[in-house]
């Protein structure tokens, strides 16, 4: 390959990195000040792009119309950011970090449906940037002027932002709040106004980033998630809250991507996540990040004490289990299928709940282990000709092993970093499954994973699932009440104190991570035989989010929460899919409602109502 090609490849990588920086800078500023992981950032990028195309159509042709549209789109995106802050985030600054994260994810879903309604399903190809449509010769090769413009824009925006943050009173306050939120509050900085301003600036940058993509690519409804995940990676690699870090990381990713595909054309899918995983393992706070203070402004995710059930609760539970065991005598095939799926989801949710609520570890990639279990069982059948039961036994083993490996690399991280690192590993695993067609079948999955004859009847498989899921969940309940569960909770309540009384905090967290993975894997194995097939989607981000929603819906503070969450979630999903085309809108609204109105979940609401009805409050 000639020198000229290498230089142009470098420039192309820098242009891509520059756009990435614009988007990531906004995300980084927002995180730095509010400590909120804002998934809706990608939606603002997408809206910025759609709005630009829309506005170009309404404004006069030519340079003025185009650039006015870009500016307006950025302003509107900023305004939407303000709206998001006022209506949603403002209520969540003190809640556990998972809540605003999920709330913004709910906003993503709602915006997706709104964009579909406004601009239709087709990809939109906007016009090129007037005045910048040409190319220049770089060492004899043509290179688009627009890309040169983008390369220049990155440092310019970085410079302007620095000017704002170091040269204005507002910027100084933002920096103070970034470095020490509590001190800033103590100094009398009006946090609400500051946060509103930051959301405006950050979201406007997202909108600008989207608007500037218009001359380069077709705008699609999938743009939001694709963008936001990459922007997250940039922010995490750079160090959360560090603008310079985001700049370096964005250019690094752009350039690595550019040269990566020359050497290994198939690496595009995993490269960014590999880089993130490596950086986080070497520098847990990113390239330019500083260690978070041990006690952040967020509450612990759960204060749950998960007391073992009393006799009455045992009785009710026993009767419920007995009734469930009798269902096949009365119900039709379809309801057995739905209930079987609910048990599987409940076990998946229970394993995640254990990790979140008992272990205090927020995982954003728990689906990886659900998928590993499913693929473990499926490969045992298709590759080793294993019978169903051995294959089912292999599922938690494979997933537990995978979780042990991943856990060893990430349990020592806390909070958002743990969430992002688990997300990265899940994405890497997903990419492997997705690409390694010869073993995993790629996106076509593995087929023919049906139960053996003795379990192939709907009722038989229902009972098998019930026994395994109920057994695993009861075992988990037992474990939570046993010394291991207490020691784990001790690490969650105060890692410092736990270590000071001789508890091996990292080992406890690691084992809990592996166990949660193994149980998710068992659920995955059951899922494989229930569906007859496995696909990469089992490991993908939406599956992880489904798990989080189920846990949240059911409530974090009760061990039966996941069961409630799974039943309600699955019921809603199947009904919504049957009835309307607006499943995303509905799911988004449900998530927002849960987070804003009843963060304690359904079990919390029911618990309170029950307590009020009988007039007997719990003991203090």
């Amino acid at each position: 390959m000639s020198m000229a090609h290498l230089v142009v490849q470098l420039l192309s990588g820098l242009a891509a990195g520059s756009v990435l920086f614009l988007i990531a800078s906004g995300l980084s500023i927002i995180f730095g000040v509010t400590r909120i992981v804002n998934f809706a950032h990608g939606s603002f990028t997408m809206l910025g792009a759609y709005l630009t195309i829309d506005l170009i159509g309404r404004l006069p042709d030519g340079g003025f119309g185009f650039w006015a549209a870009v500016g307006l789109a950025a302003l509107v995106a900023g305004g939407l950011g303000v709206l998001l802050e006022r209506l949603v985030l403002r209520r969540l600054y003190r809640s556990p970090e998972l809540f605003p994260l999920l709330a913004t994810f709910g906003v993503v879903l709602i915006v997706q449906d709104a964009a579909l309604a406004l601009w239709g399903p087709e990809d939109l190809l906007g016009p090129r940037a007037p005045g910048l449509t040409g190319t220049v010769l770089v060492l004899g090769l043509r290179f688009p002027v627009y890309d040169l413009f983008l390369i220049a824009l990155g440092p310019v925006v970085l410079g302007l932002l620095r000017l704002v943050f170091h040269g204005t009173g507002w910027g100084t306050r933002v920096r103070a709040a970034t470095e020490d939120p509590e001190m800033a509050a103590a100094l009398g900085i009006d946090q609400h106004r500051l946060f509103t301003g930051v959301l405006f600036l950050g979201s406007a940058l997202a909108g600008l980033g989207g608007a500037l993509q218009v001359p380069r690519e077709a705008i699609t409804l999938q743009m939001d998630m694709a963008t936001v995940i990459e922007a997250f990676v940039v922010v995490v690699i750079g160090g959360m809250g560090s603008l310079g870090g985001a700049f370096v990381a964005a250019l690094l990713i752009g350039v690595l991507q550019a040269f990566g595909i020359l050497a290994f054309p198939r690496i595009a899918l995993v490269l960014v996540f590999l880089v993130m995983a490596v950086v986080l393992m070497l520098r847990p706070n990113g390239l330019f990040g500083r260690a978070e203070p041990a006690a952040g402004s967020h509450q612990a995710l759960s204060q749950g004490s998960f007391a073992p059930p009393g006799p009455l609760a045992r009785l009710v539970g026993g009767i419920a289990l007995g009734l469930l065991a009798l269902v096949p005598l009365a119900a039709n095939d379809y309801s057995l299928i739905v209930l079987t799926e609910i048990f599987i989801l409940a076990l998946f949710a229970a394993s995640l709940h254990f990790l979140l609520a008992v272990g205090g570890m927020v995982s954003f990639g728990h689906a990886a282990f659900f998928g590993l279990g499913a693929y473990g069982a499926a490969l045992a059948v298709t590759g080793l000709d294993a019978a169903m039961l051995p294959a089912l036994a292999l599922a938690p083993l494979a997933a537990g092993l995978g979780a042990a490996l991943v856990g060893a690399l990430c349990v020592r991280l806390g909070g958002v970093y743990l969430a992002m690192l688990t997300l990265a590993f899940a994405q890497i695993l997903w990419s492997i499954v997705f690409q390694w067609s010869s073993v995993t079948g790629g996106d076509n999955g593995l087929l023919g994973i049906w139960p053996e004859p003795w379990a192939s009847g709907r009722a038989a498989y229902y009972w098998l699932t019930l026994v395994l899921c109920a057994g695993a969940m009861l075992g988990l309940r037992r474990l939570v009440a046993a010394p291991f569960g207490y020691a784990l909770r001790a690490s969650r309540d105060s890692a410092l104190r736990a270590a000071a009384v001789g508890l091996p905090v990292d080992r406890l967290r690691w084992l809990a991570f592996a166990l949660a993975g193994a149980l998710a894997g068992l659920a995955g194995g059951l899922q494989a035989f229930a569906k007859g097939s496995v696909f990469p989607a089992l490991l993908a981000v939406p599956t992880s989010v489904d798990g989080l929603v189920m846990v949240l819906l059911g409530g974090l503070e009760a061990l039966s929460g996941p069961l409630v969450g799974a039943a309600v979630f699955h019921g809603l999903e199947t009904e919504a899919m049957r009835g309307t085309g607006h499943w995303r809108l509905l799911l988004g609204a449900v998530i927002l409602a849960m987070v804003l109105v009843c963060p304690s979940g359904l079990s919390g609401v029911v618990g309170r109502v029950a307590a009020r009805l009988t007039g007997s409050a719990r003991r203090p």
Partner: protein
């Protein structure tokens, strides 16, 4: 001395457990009360239809309109099996194979459908096909392209309408072999569709034209193609010609970036699917002129069967058809024909009817092959041109699918023994 007993069993605990039980019971009951259809003589024939309506509306909505038109025509003409109308129970699978399988069970168990049809994505088609085999119910896959649907994962109960990956590649190879190009580079999204298309194109072209070399390949992530660097990487290979299997937004940005950087100058691009209106229309006047593509030049086909379809479709929906419209329309015409041929809704009779079934499509007569359950529906192969500010196809011809399938003895080795 304080007791070690915990406070009385908390109400929240009991309540949540009760709530869980109630929720489960409600789901069970709800499902149990789904309508059970009474068996009456002139009852409609129920067909279960599954597709990714919310996941891929740009493609599946034209498809839905296509089958709606077909069903309306069939029922207006007196239905099937001596006056029974077709009733389609259509469901969205949310683009998730697991959900598609659950919906398939629901359609079979609760809605008592006679057969299943639909799907767009290959993996969902394969999942439903596997379900069909396991549950012994007929499945007519409409749109999925994967070869494995009729070959390596083929089964007695699954049939497919649209020309497969292999067939469309074979059509393009015929054209590619006529080019003087010797050095080829490929670009395809990195998943099964892209991998198998690239694989077939390479194999078939080398067979047909020895001396062809493939000097490099690019495998962008579907939906996340980084246009500048990918185009530059392809240019650096200095190939004589390119094979492309990317589509949709990836294609759009690659075309734009490639045109700017001169990637396509002096090089012919052979490109899968690009001529289909679904992919061509969004490119507007930037459609890449001169590319050799498979597609559907709906505005130029003058055969009587197509003219009838075109007029009916435009009258009904006020817009031109897409390729999906033809696929949806033909799928249900074929189902009706099979029902008539089988004189029954019994699965085994329907399977036998589908094997060798001949039916008229807007593209002409097609046949569902008994040997691999693939229909012989073809595609249009031609070059892209821009007319009146939008992309269209010129110098096109209809490539009959029957001519682009391997010999029978090879096909037999590709399918698992029945």
């Amino acid at each position: 001395m304080p007791t070690l007993k915990k406070s009385a069993p908390s109400l929240g605990f009991v309540a949540t457990q009760a709530l869980a039980a109630v929720a489960l019971a409600a789901v069970a009951l709800g499902a149990a009360m789904l309508p059970i259809v009474p068996a009456v003589a002139a009852e409609p024939v129920r067909i279960g239809e599954i597709n990714s309506y919310t996941g891929l509306p740009a493609f599946t909505v034209p498809y839905r309109q296509g089958w709606q038109l077909a069903v309306e025509e069939i029922n207006a003409a007196g239905g099937v099996l001596g006056g029974r109308p077709l009733e389609v129970i259509s469901r969205d699978d949310g683009a998730k194979p697991g959900d598609a399988v659950r919906i398939a069970s629901e359609l079979v168990a609760a809605e008592k459908v006679a057969l299943l049809a639909g799907t767009f994505f290959s993996h969902i088609g394969l999942a439903v096909g596997d379900f069909a085999q396991h549950n012994k119910i007929l499945f007519v896959a409409a749109e999925p392209l994967s070869d494995s649907l009729t070959w390596s994962k083929g089964n007695r109960y699954t049939f497919r309408l649209r020309p497969s990956n292999y067939m469309q590649c074979a059509m393009l190879v015929e054209e590619a072999a006529k080019l003087p190009a010797r050095r080829w580079a490929t670009v395809a999204p990195n998943y099964e569709y892209g991998q198998s298309a690239t694989g077939w194109f390479k194999t078939l072209l080398k067979e047909r034209k020895p001396g062809t070399s493939f000097v490099g390949e690019q495998w962008p992530t579907q939906g996340k193609l980084e246009a500048g660097t990918t185009v530059q990487a392809l240019a650096a290979l200095e190939p004589d010609a390119l094979f492309n299997a990317t589509f949709a937004a990836d294609l759009a940005k690659m075309v734009r970036e490639g045109t700017q950087r001169g990637l396509f100058e002096g090089r012919t691009v052979v490109s899968l699917l690009t001529g289909e209106p679904e992919y061509l229309d969004p490119l507007k006047d930037e459609a890449p002129v001169g590319w050799i593509v498979t597609g559907y030049p709906w505005d130029q086909i003058t055969t009587p069967e197509h003219r009838v379809f075109l007029e009916a479709y435009r009258r009904r929906f006020g817009e031109p058809p897409r390729l999906g419209s033809v696929v949806g329309y033909t799928t249900f015409k074929a189902i009706a024909a099979a029902l008539e041929k089988a004189e029954s809704t019994a699965t085994e009779r329907l399977v036998e009817a589908f094997e060798g079934l001949e039916v008229m499509s807007p593209f002409g007569a097609i046949r569902f092959r008994a040997i691999d359950h693939q229909s012989t529906m073809g595609a249009y192969v031609g070059r892209i041109a821009v007319k009146d500010g939008r992309g269209t196809m010129v110098d096109w011809r209809y490539a009959d699918g029957a001519d682009y399938l391997p010999a029978d003895d090879i096909v037999r080795t590709l399918r698992p023994a029945p």
